[in-house]
């Protein structure tokens, strides 16, 4: 290879590295069964036409973090952001395989599911420490937002100075109280949504465009 070509390649690589826009990775975090994968699927479907993961009523259905790249979300004023969405396993401090037996799975399957779930939580924490630039913290608005795991996770996210939007999900249910979530975390924007019905997801997209820019 001539010196000219070698030099041109080196300059080209340098310029690419220098000007390449850092990809923003938005992690969807929250306790198990808050609707994280339902939201990830909705975002992916609305903006790319494809889904990300399987949803079920069994806790810890998502046991591996999964990433969907290059999702461009547009706001009403014409601005947009291009992000990677990272759907993460539900974070908890305890996992007992016995709880899966209640859903009709065999003991062996439950043990495997529990082992994968523990690995998934550890993986989610690792992503948060190393590879996440912003967080959508997903809460089930029919549940108590003051659960210790939520307090801890919001504290961990704040300590890393990551921008966070709290999605108060399941507002289609009669027991939903997004106001309780607002009271628990007044320092962060809270968007009441129903991922299942698609209610208010446009508000969430609008907030994402402004907040994660």
């Amino acid at each position: 290879m001539s010196i000219f070509i070698q030099t041109r390649n080196r300059v080209s690589k340098f310029l690419q590295a220098f000007f390449r826009k850092k990809r923003t990775r938005i992690g969807i975090y929250g306790p198990p069964n808050a609707g994280k994968t339902t939201l990830a699927n909705r975002i992916a479907r609305d903006w790319t036409g494809e889904e990300m993961g399987q949803v079920s009523e069994i806790p810890h259905e998502t046991r591996r973090a999964s990433r969907k790249s290059d999702i461009t979300i547009s706001g009403s004023n014409g601005s947009s952001i291009t992000i990677d969405i990272v759907d993460t396993p539900g974070v908890t401090t305890k996992i007992d395989y016995m709880e899966f037996l209640e859903y009709g799975v065999t003991r062996d399957e439950a043990v495997i599911r529990a082992r994968e779930a523990t690995e998934g939580v550890a993986e989610a924490m690792h992503w948060l420490r190393e590879d996440i630039d912003g967080v959508i913290y997903m809460l089930d608005s029919t549940e108590d937002p003051f659960m210790q795991v939520n307090i801890m996770m919001i504290g961990i996210i704040e300590s890393r100075n990551l921008p966070v939007i709290i999605a108060a999900n399941k507002i289609d249910l009669p027991a939903a109280s997004p106001q309780r979530i607002r009271s628990a975390f007044p320092q962060h924007p809270v968007i009441p949504i129903s991922c299942l019905e698609g209610k208010n997801v446009e508000d969430l997209y609008e907030k994402m465009v402004n907040h994660f820019r």
Binding site: K94, D96, I151
Partner: protein, 120 residues
């Protein structure tokens, strides 16, 4: 006589320990069935590592994780300089940690944590 050990760890003792020493002590104690009460709570990074290490030590029919509860932090509004430096003033407070299969939280508010402990 059957009973449950409760270790109350002072703020001074915690201040002499590294993050990993604190987490190792907590997990070793909790896995033995001891309830650990920290006079001052863990830092967010330590909490993150505690969750991760807890997950790695869970075994079927054995240790199934921890129950942890703390008072809400006294988060004062940060001053201009602290806001500029990105430093909040949230302070971790008294924290109770125990085995998930023995410790149940009954009630928590800003001043009271009410817990129920069972023998194994």
């Amino acid at each position: 006589m059957e009973g449950i050990q409760i270790d109350l760890i002072s703020e001074e003792r915690l201040a002499t320990m590294t993050s990993m020493e604190k987490i190792r002590m907590i997990l070793d104690d909790v896995r033995r069935g001891t309830i650990v009460i920290l006079e001052k709570g863990l830092a967010p990074e330590e909490q993150s590592t505690l969750i991760e290490m807890t997950m790695r030590e869970i075994l079927p029919d054995g240790f199934n994780g921890i129950e942890i509860e703390t008072y809400p932090s006294r988060a004062d509004s940060p001053g201009f300089l602290k806001r500029l430096l990105g430093k909040g003033t949230s302070e971790s407070r008294l924290t109770v940690i125990g085995p998930a299969n023995q410790l149940r939280m009954i009630k928590k508010d800003k001043d009271v944590i009410s817990a129920w402990i069972s023998t194994r």
